[in-house]
Symmetry: C2
Subunit: 315 residues, 2 copies
């Protein structure tokens, strides 16, 4: 099959607000790509099958080409619920437990999310499990992973398994506070934030040193605008440093005993900000692109589900 230039399947990362779709050959090479804002929220109203077929047609996918999907399309409020696999769970098990979507004419499957049923720390992920499967080899030992975003995930993986994980609302808190709280008067919500900026670093360090003071420090951003002339772009950097520092500081206390390495799976500017925060917290950072990771994970899921080779793989 090696070198086959023909599409083997399509793969979609279908999140809350975005859809990304790739046509892949049997080696995982990307033959075509579509990006859209028709995430779960839009698709729940407009119809998942219609949106999927329109994008597949646009990239010339054959009518019978199978499709593998990960992300919020598999949530209760998505296309069809793909029941959670419970941690600890191997990537092999997670990717193998995709469920079939009733869809006329073509095979469509959705990768399940992962749930953590611990009484004291219930948690869920959808989409990140596929990124993780693409980023971590089953041969690796214990790996601590940081996946920043609207809902940041920290994951402890070992020998091809998701062991335990936690979610921080960091990205969502930033958006809410910068746009809808009293802080909006002080903050330029879409300011470009540099990981090397003095204000970002200063608030980051304070939050890392004492994450418990975060809620006490939020209002200081407003007060610093009123009393000290803190510029609105700097106020955005302060809020970002504060929230990221609080996340990393609290994750350290929860996960980092003995860890000196963190695998940072991120795309875009957020990667730089988190790399700075992890460095400041004393971690060695390995950086992997989030989109590349999810594509690799989706290929692995498609291979296991649709290609003969998948059934015989070593994992």
């Amino acid at each position: 099959v090696s070198g086959d230039p023909f599409p083997a399947f399509a793969a979609a990362d279908w999140g809350t607000t975005r859809l990304r779709l790739w046509l892949m050959d049997s080696e995982g090479r990307v033959l075509a790509e579509r990006r859209s804002d028709e995430g779960m929220l839009v698709a729940a109203a407009a119809g998942f099958p219609q949106i999927l077929e329109r994008h597949l047609a646009a990239i010339g996918a054959a009518a019978t080409l199978p499709v593998i999907i990960c992300g919020m399309a598999g949530a209760r409020q998505g296309w069809i619920e793909a029941p959670y696999v419970f941690a600890p769970a191997s990537f092999r098990e997670i990717l193998g437990r995709s469920i079939a979507v009733p869809h006329e004419g073509r095979t469509v499957r959705i990768v399940p999310g992962v749930a953590q049923a611990e009484n004291d720390a219930p948690d869920v992920m959808r989409g990140e499990e596929t990124q993780l499967a693409g980023a971590i080899s089953s041969l690796q030992g214990r790996t601590l992973v940081c996946m920043p975003g609207t809902h940041s995930k920290w994951v402890e993986a070992e020998a091809g398994e998701v062991k335990r994980f936690s979610t921080w609302l960091t990205g969502e808190l930033f958006a809410l506070l910068a746009s809808s709280s009293i802080l909006r008067h002080a903050i330029e919500a879409d300011a470009t934030i540099s990981p090397d900026g003095a204000v970002f670093r200063d608030w980051l360090r304070q939050a890392l040193a004492d994450p418990g003071q975060m809620t006490a420090m939020l209002f200081r951003i407003r007060a610093a605008g009123l009393l000290q002339g803190l510029a609105q772009a700097d106020a955005a950097a302060a809020l970002s440093g504060l929230l990221i520092g609080c996340e990393v500081g609290s994750a350290c206390r929860r996960f980092a005993a003995g860890s000196e390495n963190v695998l940072l799976i991120a795309s875009g500017p957020l990667g730089g900000l988190y790399a700075a925060a992890l460095d400041e917290a004393g971690f060695d950072v390995t950086h992997q692109d989030a989109e590349e990771a999810v594509r690799t994970g989706l290929f692995e899921a498609g291979r296991r589900n649709f290609l003969n080779g998948g059934k015989e793989g070593p994992q």
Copy 2:
């Protein structure tokens, strides 16, 4: 003057979202009252003088009766800016530095807010200084005060002075998270929360023990709804316990060295929730009604500004 049944002045607590107005005699007795949702946000558009005169007319205030105001009406985006007095500042100084509002026909004065210019902990208050002046006698020694609300304040007062203070966005965070974040799917935002409820107490204790884990615990409310069937009203109690516990735990670390008493200035159900949190944190609590406190403070401000007796007072 004792026993005079005639109005001596009107007093208004004019906050961001509410206006409360009282007609007072020279002994501080309330002769009439008005309550309205025409707070600063409404008044900035509709006109402060028009709203004030309409309510004064409705309670039969004479055309020349003076008016004393505290709260956000004195903010930059309010009626006229009443420049901050900087902490440490005595209540005498604060109430004495009210500024005159240009207003035809009657004397109207606004009590200034208090600012804290500390480099590392800039902060501001408007309205709370008047509550404090009404609740604390100048004869008291060091008093630690907790004033819960949209923007909770903790204040260290001593011998009639505001020494230092901090603001927590607790109430605003609750409203934003319960109504506009991913948690809204899990939470009944306007559920009645009991200070004795097991869920409230459980999350409160966890947050008090480790306020730094707050942002890591937020998403658990959503996950507990998905995985453990946490009811939406209980989820509201969990978020309330978490945010109040985080505030009290972080305030303890900041203010409580050597303090075993807290003066809690609060009205309504919030008073009960904070009393439970303060008790759980090991404080002895003295509870004072917030509205009574602001009325007493406004009377003191009016007396100092409008009545002869004020000039000769002992403070």
